[in-house]
Amino acid sequence: MRWDVVIIGAGMSGLAAGIRLAHFQKKVLILEQHAVWGGLNSFYKKGGHHFDVGLHAVTNWLRPGYKGPRVPLQRIYRQLRIQPEELALEPQTHSYVIFGDARLRFSNDLAELTSEVSRLFPKELDGFVHLSERCAEYPEAAADTTPISTRRMLSEYLSDPLLVDMLLCPLLYYGCASEHDLDWEQFVILFNSIYREGFCRPRRGVRQILDVLKDRYESLGGEMRRKSGVAELRVTDGRVGAVVLESGEVVEAEVVLSSAGRVETARLRSDHPVETGRPGELAFTETLWLLSQDPKTLGFDGCVTFFGTAPFSWARPDQPEDLSSGVICVPGNYAHQEPLDRHLLRVTHLADHRAWVGLSGPAYDEQKALWIERSLDTVARLGSDLRPYIQYTDSFTPRTVVKYTRHDHGAVYGSPDKVKTGRTDLSNLFLCGTDQGFVGIVGAMLSGINMANAHVLAGAS
């Protein structure tokens, strides 16, 4: 069987690309190494409980009845022919950025953040207003452009380093694969995605989105094979001639679209190319707790709470976890029409992948238990001690991410060296997903759509 397109990875980008291609009558095969789909935004069952892997928030909330410049979720709905009701996204109530005594509250109304800036940093108000006006529209989708330092750009608008750190903290945590700083164009996109449009989530969590994508893909005739890892991309005459599965089976395709990552995809190639992209250094640990009490009554009323200490360090820590910053997410605090049937709180910290990936057995378990206790102490300082209310605990580390996604270093946001065009030096091999463009659920779906359009559908007849 010869396929028009083979897609490596059934994550958000692979599924979105698959839907576009299958809709326009391409014969598409998605290969997923894992038993379940979703990639970095997957789901699992443990201790009798269903959990999402890491969903804190879907960004880019689209207000019903929105009129204005085209925003990312509209594009996704249209390109995938999905109705907003199908994803069933519901907005956040409010979130926080907390650095010591400074506490900025924000919501899906930029005016709230503006008034908080004015309250806490009155001298910075004009600069912040100018900054948000400057970010008012999304940049045109660009090819590879020279990165511009966001910290340098921000210094034109803001002078208080605490405000700069506080504004950057959520954006870095939710979308930056490079250490210390991010590209200005990406800042503008994240500013709009998080502060202008804001957070939302489906009541059922990531399953809601994944079910819609998978059902749509399969109803269009797309095929997905799970537990079908790719062993090798066999390269002949400047193109991928065949895709060899771990089972030994060989499949052929006109085009191969890989969401496996830039470095990771190159490693699958039989011609062993010299890869200049660096693997990602930023990895996370995340712990979730099922609680007997509503987190709101324990001092956690935000949907998402980003916390840190100035100066904020966005880098691989030199110890297993960096507890000086993190993200607390309480799904039950979203404005769901029907309340959730359980109390869940999750917390994320930056982690040093080197400290986790090599561990196994009891040493790994001990290390995990130790850092969960330390994380609980950190969380307690922001609200109450959760310990008396814990019913169930689970956590993941960079090692878990490597195991299930094969991302080098467990780097959730992939390589800092993105390939915006999606092109490789092979004529029929393209990248989509984390290492092509933007991260997060919305970014990944857009990546799949854009790469399917650019490299398969454009000019096809």
Partner: protein, 88 residues
């Protein structure tokens, strides 16, 4: 095939791409972009849907013929009729 029939096939396509748009009163002579919230990606989808549903090819140089509903009808009607004749 009447002009109305061609017009309906085009509006069907636009409805599937942009179900949130009100298509009950599309003015034939006004540019579609000026009365509906359609961008270049949506226009490319109209072209691709014409190919998928009706096997009608619109070369890139002729995309501008599709800028109004009246333009679509004028440009596409002979193509629909040629298809119908070929089938007959």
């Amino acid at each position: 095939m009447t002009e109305n029939e061609v017009s309906k096939l085009i509006l069907d396509i636009i409805h599937d791409i942009a179900p949130d748009e009100d298509l009950s009163d599309v003015k034939p002579e006004v540019r579609l972009r000026d009365q509906l919230d359609l961008d270049s990606m949506d226009f490319l989808d109209i072209v691709m849907e014409l190919r998928k549903r009706h096997q009608i090819e619109v070369p890139e140089a002729e995309y501008m013929e599709l800028s109004t509903l009246a333009g679509c009808v004028k440009y596409l009607r002979p193509k629909f009729e040629a298809k119908a004749a070929a089938r007959a």
